[in-house]
């Protein structure tokens, strides 16, 4: 569970940045070289590389080097963790409703006891 939580943490951090989201959106359409990915951004290459490394570290993408070109590929498996989002929202509201119920029922018992 904790490991899963850390994994999600990295994914959400990776997704929290507009440049990284744009890179992911682009990679969603197919693999691309780092120079192609960097083109739309007004950013020095070292800064852009930090984003790529962040994405790679989160497991959302992997990169491979062929000759002088480094190509990035999206890792769909990682996104499956995020796909569980709605079930997490459900768990949140179920839990919240459980706690509300428990709170109210306990409050009622206290009221009756007085």
């Amino acid at each position: 569970m904790e490991q899963y939580s850390r994994q999600l943490d990295g994914i959400f951090q990776a997704l929290a940045d507009p440049t990284r989201r744009a890179v992911l959106a682009r990679l969603g359409t197919g693999p691309a070289s780092i120079s192609d990915l960097a083109k739309p951004f007004d950013m020095a290459l070292p800064s852009f590389m930090k984003h790529i490394r962040f994405l790679e570290g989160s497991g959302l993408i992997r990169t491979r080097k062929e000759g002088r070109v480094r190509t990035c590929v999206i890792q769909e498996g990682q996104l499956a963790a995020v796909e569980a989002w709605l079930s997490q929202q459900r768990a949140l509201w179920e839990g919240r409703t459980d706690r509300l119920e428990q709170f109210v029922v306990t409050a009622q018992k206290k009221g009756e006891a007085q």
């Binding site: 959400f12 989201r21 709605l86 929202q89 459900r90 768990a91 839990g95 509300l100 109210v104 009622q108």
Partner: protein, 159 residues
């Protein structure tokens, strides 16, 4: 109310709570009470603002592991029908101002039931791509909730 539901983005949580509607309503609308159940223990909740009127601000903060209180929910009430309905969204913040990262609207409905209160939370979310970014809720207490529920269940069975 007519609304179209989307099973991929919407949730309905319904429960019959064995207590009168007025008690459920006060558990929801009294800040000190809401703090007791809004976020799963051991994390702590603080209600910063709870202005129960359309356009009113609804802000909660949370503290994990005894640390500082951090942002949890910053939302705006859309509708308050006394004792019956609470609607809020994080698409807006207090005073109708558009929010930075909207992702949900929640409709809480309370109805009388022969066993107490028929309680429903209907929660609508934004599209798939956007909602993934929103760690504000869910990510924090979603998994904690599951563990807590499990622990409660076990304790109840043991006890």
């Amino acid at each position: 109310m007519i609304r179209s539901s989307n099973p991929e983005l919407d949730l309905t949580i319904s429960r019959v709570i064995r207590a009168p509607r007025s008690l459920v309503w006060s558990a929801w609308t009294d800040p000190a009470s809401l703090e007791q159940w809004w976020i799963p223990a051991p994390a702590r909740c603080k209600v910063v603002e709870m202005e129960l009127r359309p356009g009113g601000s609804f802000i909660t903060r949370m503290s994990e592991n005894g640390g500082d209180f951090e942002p949890h929910l910053n939302a705006c009430f859309l509708d308050i029908a006394d004792g019956e309905r609470i609607v809020f969204t994080n698409a807006l913040v207090g005073g109708w101002r558009p929010a930075e990262q909207p992702f949900m609207t929640a409709i809480i409905t309370l109805k009388d039931h022969s066993d107490g209160t028929d309680y429903t939370a209907y929660v609508m979310h934004k599209n798939n791509a956007d909602r993934n970014m929103h760690a504000e809720m869910g990510f924090y207490d979603g998994w904690g909730t599951v563990v807590e529920q499990l622990a409660n269940l076990v304790e109840q069975r043991v006890g």
